[in-house]
C-alpha cells in the first residue's frame, strides 16, 4: 500500500503511470437522448406549489370526511390540477411537477423543514433537536443544485429553487398543516413513550440520522406495475366498483372506503394523463416541424388510450410504467422507489412487438435511453439532512436484471441486454442497475454487465441472488413465502432486499409470470445508527463530549476489561434501538392514519384483493422494518485497537485513550481544515505528544486484510447485531432485521464524531458501506478484503455493502473484462452479498474537485448509488477520493 501524501490518494499495488487515465471509451447516446440529457444538465432543481396547493385546498373542504376518502380527494385534486408540460423530443411524457427537475413540498407529512429560518416553527423544530443532522450536512455545490438564492429564486435546503412569487403561499400552506401534519401529530404522541427525552438527546447527538417514520414514509421498496399493465385504469376502477358493491354494509367496513378511495384517486390520475394528451395536441398545433408535430400527435393518442385502457405495445407499456412510478412518488416523500425487474416485466410486450416487426433494437435503445433521462429527472423534496446527508441528492430508482424465473431458470433476456446497452450509451444516475447474480446466468449477459460497470458508471452493482433468497426465506416464511416466491425478489432503493411476487400477465391468451414488489417500504425503521458515535459515548460513560450533553445514563462500568467495553457498547446500542423503534412506530402510525398510501397500495398485491391499504397490512408481506447501521469498519477497527493496545498488550490505559481522543491525536479537526478524509489532515503544535498513540492506533489490526484478530470482532458484532434486531417489533407487529448500508450518512455522522480509537480523526467521514475497509487500510489486496468481508453469514442481514475503486487500466480490454468478472464471481461465491465499483483514476476526482465546471457529467459510485460528482457534498467527495485505489488485482 502506498499513500501519496502529496496527492492524498491511497494505492494498492504499483503507482499508476503519470497523467490521468481516462475511463474506457463508451458509446454515445442517440441524438434524441443526448439532447434531453444536455437539457437536464442545464436544469436546476425547481419547486412548484401547484400540487400541495390543490391538495391542501381540497383537504380543507372535507373536514369530517372518512380520512382515507379525504386523502383520496386531496390526491385527486393535486393530480388533476397539475399544469401539463411536454418537452420537445420526448418519447415518454409527464413528471412530478411542471419543471424538468420539478418537485414539491408535502406539508401534510412535515411542514417545518422548509420554512424560512426566521420562522417560529422552524426554530421550534431546531430546538427540539429534529434538524440537527442538517447542520452537519454539506450539499454539492454544482450541477443542478440551487445552493444560494439568486434574483427572484430562493434556495431551500441548499438544493431546491423556488420562485419568490411562490414563497409566501408555500409558507401559508405550510402553516395550515401546523399541528396536523404527520410530523406534528406523531411528535405529539411519541412523547408518551417512556424515556422520550433520551430519544431527543440521541437525535441531537446525531447518533441517529433522522426520523424515518414520517420523513420518507415510503420507499426503498420495489414497484409492481401489473394491474395497470393488465387491466388499465378503467379496468381497475371497474374491479373496485364490483368489490365495493360486494363489501358495502358488511363487517370490516374499511374495505368499502378503501375501494372508494382508490376509485377517486384513479379518477385524478386519469385526468392528469388526459390533460397531458390535450397539451400534446396543443404542442402539435404550434409546431412547424412535421416530424415533431407527428410525434406530439402520436403522444396524444398514446396518452389518451392509456388514460383508460391497458397498453397495446411496448412503448405504451413503458409509458404506463413511468406514469405510475411518478404517481406513487407524488403521494409521499419517497426515496428508493425501485422499478424492479423492468426488463422482465416488459419483455412480453417487447417480444410481441419484435415478432410483429413494429419495433427494432435501435428504437428500443432510444426508448430505454429516454427512460433513463426521465428517471434521472426525479427529485425528492426534503430537508438538507435527508436530501444531502442521507441521499446525496439521489433518488435510488434501482432497476434489477437477471435473477431467476418462477421455475428456477435464468431470467436474463434480450431486453435486459438492451437495458445494459442503454446504460452504457446513456450513462446517467437513474435508474441505477443491479445484476442479481446467479450461477445460472449466461456468460454473455454477465460480460455485458461487466462491460457496463467498466466504463465507470458505477452500475450495475453485483448482488448475490442466492444469499438474498436465503435472507427472504429466513424472514418471510412465516408470512407464507416459499422458494418459488423468493425468486421474485428485487432490490428496493440502493440495496434493500425486498420481497416480490409473480403476477400472471396475460397477452394474447398466453400467461407470462412477471415479477413485482409485494411488500411496503423498507425505508421505515431505525435509520441510521452511528456505531462509532455510540462507542464514543460508551467510552465517556454516556456523555456526548462534543456538546457536553448526557445522552444515556451512566453505564456504571469501569471498562477494566474488553468484555466490559463490549457490554457497555451493546447496552447503549440496545437502548437506542428500543426507544427509536417505539417512537418510529408512533410516527408511522400517524402516517397511516393521516396520510395512507393509495397509489402504491392499489399497485401492491394483495391490497386490491383484500380491500386493505399498505398501512393496514394489505400487502402480501409486511415484515419490512429494519435497523440500519453506519460506520461498521470504524467500530470494528476501534474495538480491535483498544483490545490490543489497552486490554491485551496494555500499551496504554483507557484514560490515556480518552485524552488522545479529546485531543484529536494532536490534529486539527476536519471542520477546521475543511477536509474530511484522514490523509489530508493538519497537525497542531502539540502533535508530538500524541504521535505515538496515534501511530499505534493506526497500526492496530484493521478490517479488510484477512486478519483473524479483527475479523473475529467483525463476526461477533455482526452475529450479535443481526440477532438482536429481531427483539424489536414493528408497527405491523413483525420482527425487525438488520440493514447495513451507509448511503451518505457516513459523511455527516462522521462530522459530529470525535476521533475514534482506530486513529480516525475528529469530523472525518466514516468508512462507507458495511464491509468496505476504511480508506487506505486494506493493504493485502482484493482477495484478503473478500475473506474479511465474508467472515460472517451475509444472509443474516438484509444486505451488506462492499465498495471498491479500481484504476481503469487494470480492467482494460476484453482480457480485463474477463479478469474483472472472475473477481466479482470470486467474491459472490464466497458468500458476499454485494459489491460495486468505481473504475476511475482518483487523480481525475481530485481534478474534478478543483475544477467542477469541467466535469459536469462525471459519475461516481458512492454507497449503493451513482451520482454526478458535482452534486455530491465535500464530505462524501473526500471519502471517495480517499478510498483505496487498486492498481492490480
Amino acid at each position: 500500500m502506498k499513500s501519496d501524501q502529496h496527492s492524498a490518494i491511497n494505492y494498492y499495488g504499483h503507482e499508476p503511470e503519470p497523467g490521468i487515465s481516462p475511463r474506457e471509451n463508451k458509446r454515445q447516446p442517440t441524438p434524441r437522448a443526448n439532447a434531453a440529457r444536455e437539457l437536464y444538465f442545464e436544469a436546476k432543481s425547481s419547486v412548484s406549489m401547484e400540487f400541495p396547493y390543490w391538495y391542501t385546498r381540497r383537504w380543507e373542504t372535507l373536514e369530517g370526511e372518512i380520512p382515507i376518502i379525504r386523502r383520496a380527494e386531496a390526491l385527486k385534486s393535486g393530480f388533476e390540477h397539475l399544469t401539463p408540460v411536454i418537452y420537445p423530443g420526448e418519447l415518454l411524457a409527464m413528471g412530478k411537477a411542471p419543471f424538468l427537475r420539478g418537485s414539491f413540498p408535502m406539508p401534510w407529512l412535515s411542514e417545518a423543514f422548509f420554512m424560512a429560518s426566521e420562522d417560529k416553527m422552524y426554530k421550534e423544530a431546531q430546538e427540539s433537536g429534529k434538524l440537527t443532522a442538517d447542520t452537519f450536512t454539506t450539499m454539492g455545490k454544482g450541477g443542478g443544485n440551487v445552493t444560494r438564492s439568486i434574483g427572484k429564486v430562493i434556495s431551500i435546503a441548499g438544493k431546491f429553487g423556488v420562485r419568490v412569487e411562490e414563497m409566501p403561499v408555500m409558507l401559508e400552506v405550510a402553516r395550515k398543516w401546523k399541528d396536523r401534519s404527520v410530523d406534528d401529530v406523531g411528535h405529539k404522541y411519541e412523547q408518551l413513550v417512556p424515556g422520550y427525552p433520551e430519544k431527543e438527546a440521541i437525535m441531537r447527538s446525531v447518533i441517529c440520522m433522522f426520523d424515518s417514520g414520517y420523513t420518507l414514509p415510503q420507499g426503498r421498496e420495489v414497484m409492481n406495475y401489473y394491474y395497470p399493465l393488465q387491466f388499465g385504469i378503467d379496468g381497475i376502477i371497474a374491479n373496485c366498483k364490483e368489490s365495493l358493491a360486494d363489501v358495502a354494509g358488511y363487517p370490516e367496513m374499511d374495505r368499502l372506503y378503501f375501494y372508494k378511495a382508490v376509485i377517486v384517486m384513479l379518477e385524478g390520475i386519469k385526468s392528469w394523463i388526459q390533460n397531458h394528451a390535450e397539451e400534446a395536441r396543443f404542442m402539435a398545433s404550434v409546431e412547424k416541424e412535421e416530424q415533431q408535430k407527428a410525434e406530439y400527435l402520436e403522444m396524444a393518442d398514446r396518452l389518451e388510450w392509456i388514460s383508460g385502457k391497458p397498453p397495446r405495445n411496448f412503448h405504451e407499456a413503458l409509458q404506463v410504467l413511468w406514469i405510475f412510478h411518478v404517481a406513487v412518488l407524488n403521494e409521499d416523500a419517497i426515496s428508493g422507489l425501485s422499478p424492479g425487474r423492468v426488463g422482465q416485466v416488459l419483455f412480453p410486450f417487447w417480444q410481441r412487438d419484435m415478432k410483429k416487426g413494429v419495433i427494432d433494437r435501435e428504437r428500443t435503445i432510444e426508448l430505454l435511453e429516454c427512460m433513463r433521462i426521465k428517471f434521472t429527472e426525479i427529485d425528492c423534496f426534503a430537508s438538507m439532512g435527508v436530501v444531502g446527508g442521507v441521499l446525496s441528492g439521489n433518488t435510488f430508482n434501482n432497476l434489477c436484471l437477471g435473477g431467476l424465473t418462477k421455475d428456477g431458470a435464468s431470467a436474463a433476456n434480450e431486453l435486459e441486454m438492451l437495458i445494459l446497452e442503454a446504460g452504457i450509451s446513456c450513462d446517467t444516475p437513474q435508474p441505477t442497475l443491479s445484476v442479481l447474480y446467479d450461477e445460472k446466468l449466461p456468460e454473455e449477459f454477465l460480460m455485458k454487465g461487466v462491460e457496463c460497470t467498466k466504463i465507470g458508471t458505477g452500475y450495475p452493482a453485483w448482488v448475490n441472488n442466492q444469499v438474498a433468497m436465503e435472507f427472504l426465506l429466513r424472514n418471510y416464511a412465516h408470512e407464507g413465502m416459499d422458494l418459488e416466491e423468493a425468486r421474485a425478489w428485487a432490490i428496493g432503493g440502493c440495496l434493500e432486499t425486498s420481497p416480490g411476487s409473480w403476477m400472471p400477465l396475460e397477452l394474447d391468451g398466453e400467461i407470462h409470470w412477471i415479477p413485482g414488489g409485494s411488500a411496503p417500504a423498507t425505508s421505515v425503521g431505525v435509520h441510521f445508527l452511528s456505531l462509532p458515535k455510540i462507542l464514543e459515548v460508551a467510552l465517556f460513560d454516556g456523555m456526548d463530549m462534543r456538546t457536553g450533553e448526557r445522552i444515556f445514563p451512566s453505564h456504571g462500568l469501569k471498562l477494566e476489561t474488553y468484555e466490559d467495553l463490549w457490554q457497555a457498547f451493546r447496552d447503549y446500542f440496545s437502548r437506542a434501538c428500543h426507544v427509536l423503534t417505539l417512537t418510529n412506530n408512533i410516527q408511522h402510525d400517524a402516517w397511516r392514519k393521516i396520510s395512507p398510501s393509495l397509489v402504491n397500495s392499489m399497485l401492491k398485491p394483495d391490497c386490491l384483493a383484500n380491500g386493505r391499504d399498505i398501512g393496514q397490512k394489505g400487502c402480501r408481506y409486511n415484515s419490512t422494518f429494519n435497523i440500519e447501521s453506519c460506520g461498521t469498519a470504524n467500530l470494528v477497527n476501534s474495538l480491535a485497537a483498544m483490545k490490543r493496545n489497552i486490554y491485551n498488550e496494555k500499551r496504554y490505559t483507557l484514560a490515556e485513550y480518552r485524552d488522545a481522543i479529546l485531543a484529536n491525536f494532536g490534529y486539527k479537526t476536519a471542520r477546521e481544515t475543511g477536509s474530511y478524509s484522514l490523509i489530508d489532515q493538519v497537525p497542531k503544535e502539540d502533535h508530538d505528544r500524541w504521535k505515538k498513540i496515534h501511530r499505534e492506533s493506526l497500526a492496530a489490526p484493521k478490517f479488510g486484510n484477512d486478519d483473524p484478530y479483527v475479523d473475529a470482532i467483525m463476526k461477533e458484532w455482526e452475529e450479535w447485531f443481526c440477532e438482536m434486531t429481531h427483539n424489536y417489533r414493528s408497527l405491523y407487529d413483525q420482527p425487525m432485521y438488520a440493514c447495513q448500508i451507509s448511503v451518505s450518512t457516513h459523511g455527516p455522522m462522521g462530522a459530529v464524531t470525535l476521533a475514534s480509537p482506530d486513529g480516525r480523526l475528529c469530523g472525518t467521514t466514516f468508512s462507507d458501506g458495511s464491509v468496505s475497509a476504511y480508506p487506505g487500510t486494506d493493504l493485502h489486496g482484493p482477495y484478503a478484503l473478500f475473506n474479511s468481508a465474508t467472515c460472517w453469514n451475509h444472509s443474516l442481514s438484509q444486505n451488506s455493502q462492499l465498495n471498491m475503486k479500481i484504476h481503469p487500466s487494470v480492467v482494460k480490454g476484453r482480457e480485463g473484462s474477463r479478469k474483472f468478472l472472475e473477481l466479482i464471481r470470486a467474491y459472490l461465491r464466497k458468500g458476499g452479498f454485494h459489491v460495486q465499483f468505481n473504475i476511475v483514476d482518483s487523480r481525475m476526482l481530485k481534478q474534478a474537485q478543483a475544477e467542477p465546471e469541467k466535469y459536469r457529467s462525471l459519475l461516481v459510485r458512492v454507497a449503493g448509488f451513482t451520482q454526478y460528482w458535482v452534486e455530491l457534498g465535500k464530505q462524501i467527495q473526500d471519502e471517495v477520493i480517499a478510498r483505496t485505489e487498486y492498481e492490480e488485482l
Binding site: 425547481s46 396547493y53 419543471f99 420562485r163 419568490v164 409566501p168 403561499v169 401559508e172 404550434v286
Partner: protein, 85 residues
Amino acid sequence: MADFKCSDCRFYLPVDVFSGFCKLSKEKITPDTPFCCKAEKIPKCRFCTNYTAEKEFLGKCMGATLAYPDMIAVKCADFQWYRKN
C-alpha cells in the same frame, strides 16, 4: 401588455425556476422576459375574476380560499377571465 412577462404566456415552456423555452420560437428565455407581440396570456389566478389580491403574492379565491396570483389555472374549473385584463 408591457407589464406582462413570458411566464404569463401560453407559449412559455418552463424548464426550471430560472429559464424555459418559447413554444413558438423555441428560443431559450427567462420567465421574466417581457411579452412579445405573439404572446397570449395563460390563465392565472391574477387574471381571474374570482381572485382578490390581499398582499404581495397572496390573495383570496372567491373571497374565502387562499390563493396566489401567479398560479397557473389552466385546469381550474372556476377560472374566469377578468375582463380588464
